[in-house]
């Protein structure tokens, strides 16, 4: 109902410019400043944001850390885009860190706020970049060869020296 009245008011007066007197502006600025400062100090944010955004994870595991001196009930959400149109809740509790593993390759966005969902931090972008596939197959082939040759050398060595050792 309130929204409807406001809409009607703006609709009726849309051609008339809104005028504010100087005292009004000063009061508004003061109020904004106060609230702004309050929001600035109370807003929960990730403390390892810089390191997470700077270096991608090579195995899909990240540790999110935040400061929570007042032991507030916080919530962390994850989304594939920074607008968080479709998000998953990844943490709810009073802790100060959580490990998230098994993230798929690509970018993941996280935000943190009080669990009532009224205010959120700015999105944190964490990237997952797996080991390059071309090098992977090369190293896997090398691994297979080294392991098979090692086991083979031991088994052949064992059987070729066993009789002598027993005697």
């Amino acid at each position: 109902m309130f929204r409807l009245r406001v809409a009607r008011h703006f609709h009726r007066n849309r051609t008339r410019p809104i005028r504010f007197s100087r005292p009004h502006l000063s009061i508004a600025a003061f109020v904004l400043l106060c609230f702004g400062q309050c929001w600035g100090t109370d807003e929960i944010d990730f403390t390892n944001r810089e390191s997470l955004e700077a270096s991608p994870s090579d195995n899909g595991t990240i540790t999110l850390q935040w400061s929570n001196p007042e032991k507030l009930n916080v919530r962390i959400e994850q989304a594939p885009e920074s607008e968080f149109t479709s998000s998953l809740i990844r943490y709810e509790g009073k802790g100060k860190s959580t490990v998230l593993s098994g993230l798929a390759e690509g970018s993941h966005f996280f935000r943190i706020g009080e669990s009532d969902g009224t205010s959120w931090s700015s999105p944190l972008e964490a990237k997952v970049e797996f080991f390059p596939r071309e090098q992977l197959w090369l190293l896997l082939s090398l691994g297979g060869v080294v392991v098979l040759m090692t086991a083979g050398a031991i088994i052949v060595g064992y059987f070729s020296t066993r009789k002598g050792d027993e005697s």
């Binding site: 899909g60 509790g93 190293l139 297979g144 020296t161």
Partner: protein, 479 residues
């Protein structure tokens, strides 16, 4: 996902650890009375039987790295991660094929250093000592760190106090009992570890709905189900080769090979490998259940204790949960710290003291010198654990170094001819390139590169300018 962290009170934690410490130290003193001379103290009289032999090998290999890192592998690398950790048991299985040969070539051998000295000369021996000391210290430090982390996670005991407490207990009973105490306590500790893991694993199975768990992981942790996850696949070979390198070269295993009766030693190592194989899978499975059970993990290094204590407390076992986890993990750490303390001290006394510096130790002064060395190693480990390095870094940085010793050990045991210079060049180059790979490509490639490079050089050493290997050199090792 909600936070579900359970912990016991600090006083309960202190009482539990102090009681365990008193028990282990008392047993150490009791068993240590059997050690009448240096050989008794260092090698338990060379008369260890099958049950004690397999239990000590298994318990030593169930380290804090198994109970603490296997869950980390599962949590970060999924099913492949669990299997990757389990492949370390192949090292024990293959070492069973070495034991008979070791006892034939070195009938009076005391340390792994004896083998390297006689097979690869003074330079090769020094190289081995540098690598094995770096590795042993990093293993010891990683376990001391894990001990501190464990007590902090479960009981809120500050890291430094917890780490110091575990080290002091292990130093004390190794000091009094030597290898007799280490093997005896290992036997009891292996039983406790097995029972604990079975109990915790069963509780997880009861609590978990497998279809829901699968759906949860597919939604929230899709990479854990990915077959071609690069880090996980590479971890399989890397961990297997790391395990080979650890077991094949380290004096912990060689001292056990010398301590067991020759006829049972291969069976004991084979049995210990079989018994060890499922342990990382069970420990890792617990961590995989964390997400589906709604357990939040605050620090990746505390995955095991946090998940296990949460699961047990969910099952209504209350404070008993934390105590059980504490006992199991404390045993897993103690069983490895004591073995490493004993084996590293033997190396320092025999190879560095007697071998390099020509210090003469008679029977009367042996125990005193052994005591000084054990305490010295304990203090050094404490100093290195003080900065609280991340466990996985402390552990895997030594992977390429030990990986580069795999082939020199195989060649030294089974081949008749070898070009020493090429083999030693392979060890150096393999170690350097492996460490480079650790930083440039990722930890999951380091041991593979180290072992691969060393393998190529060792094989070349068999065909290019090989020198005759005389078995008599090794047989006379006591001289």
């Amino acid at each position: 996902m909600t936070e579900e962290v359970f912990s016991i009170s600090r006083s309960t934690g202190w009482i539990t650890v102090i009681l365990l410490g008193i028990i282990w130290v008392a047993l150490g003193v009791y068993w240590g009375r059997r050690a009448k001379n240096a050989e008794g103290f260092m090698l338990a009289g060379r008369n260890v039987g099958l049950s004690l032999g397999s239990a000590t090998a298994m318990a030593t290999w169930v380290t804090s790295n198994t109970t603490m890192l296997a869950p980390v592998f599962a949590l970060t690398l999924g099913v492949w991660g669990m299997l990757a950790y389990s492949t370390a048991s192949f090292g024990l299985l293959l070492f069973a094929l070495f034991v008979g040969r070791i006892r034939t070539l070195l009938p009076a051998g005391v340390t792994a250093g004896d083998f390297f000295r006689l097979r690869y000369g003074r330079f090769g021996w020094s190289l081995f000592l540098i690598i094995t000391m770096l590795y042993s210290l990093s293993w010891l430090v990683s376990m001391a760190i894990a001990g501190g982390d464990l007590l902090q996670a479960l009981a809120g005991i500050p890291y430094l106090q917890g780490m110091s407490l575990i080290l002091i207990v292990c130093v004390l009973y190794t000091l009094f009992g030597g290898l007799y105490a280490v093997i005896g306590t290992d036997f009891l500790q292996s039983l406790i570890i097995l029972i604990g893991i079975v109990v915790i694993g069963s509780l997880v199975v009861v609590k978990l709905d497998f279809s829901e768990a699968y759906e949860h992981i597919a939604t929230y942790q899709p990479s854990l189900l990915q077959i071609a996850m690069p880090a996980a696949l590479l971890a399989v070979f890397n961990n297997m080769l790391f395990g080979f390198g650890e077991v094949f070269h380290n004096n912990v295993w060689w001292s056990r090979a010398f301590a067991m009766r020759k006829s049972i030693a291969p069976k004991a190592f084979f049995l210990s490998g079989l018994l060890w194989f499922p342990i990382p899978i069970a420990a890792g499975f617990i961590a995989l259940a964390a997400g589906p059970l709604g357990i939040s993990i605050p620090d990746v290094n505390q995955t095991g204790p946090v998940v296990a204590s949460s699961v047990i407390s969910m099952s209504g076992l209350g404070a008993f949960a934390g105590i059980l986890i504490l006992i199991v993990l404390f045993c897993s750490m103690a069983s490895s710290i004591d073995s490493l303390l004993a084996a590293t001290s033997d190396l320092l006394l025999e190879d560095v003291g007697k071998g390099l510096f020509k210090v003469k130790l008679d029977e009367n002064h042996f125990r005193k010198s052994a005591g000084v060395v054990i305490i010295g190693v304990g203090v050094l480990v404490w100093l290195l654990a003080f900065p609280h390095w991340p466990i996985i870094n402390a552990l895997f940085i030594s992977g390429p170094l030990v990986g580069s010793l795999i082939w020199p050990v195989i060649a030294g045991l089974f081949w008749r001819k070898i070009n020493r210079s090429l083999v030693l060049s392979g060890i150096i180059l393999g170690s350097l390139l492996g460490v480079w790979a650790y930083f440039a490509l990722g930890w999951f490639t380091a041991s593979l590169i180290g072992a691969g490079v060393s393998m190529v050089f060792t094989i070349l050493g068999r065909f290019i300018g090989p020198q005759e290997f005389r078995a008599a050199e090794l047989s006379n090792s006591e001289n």
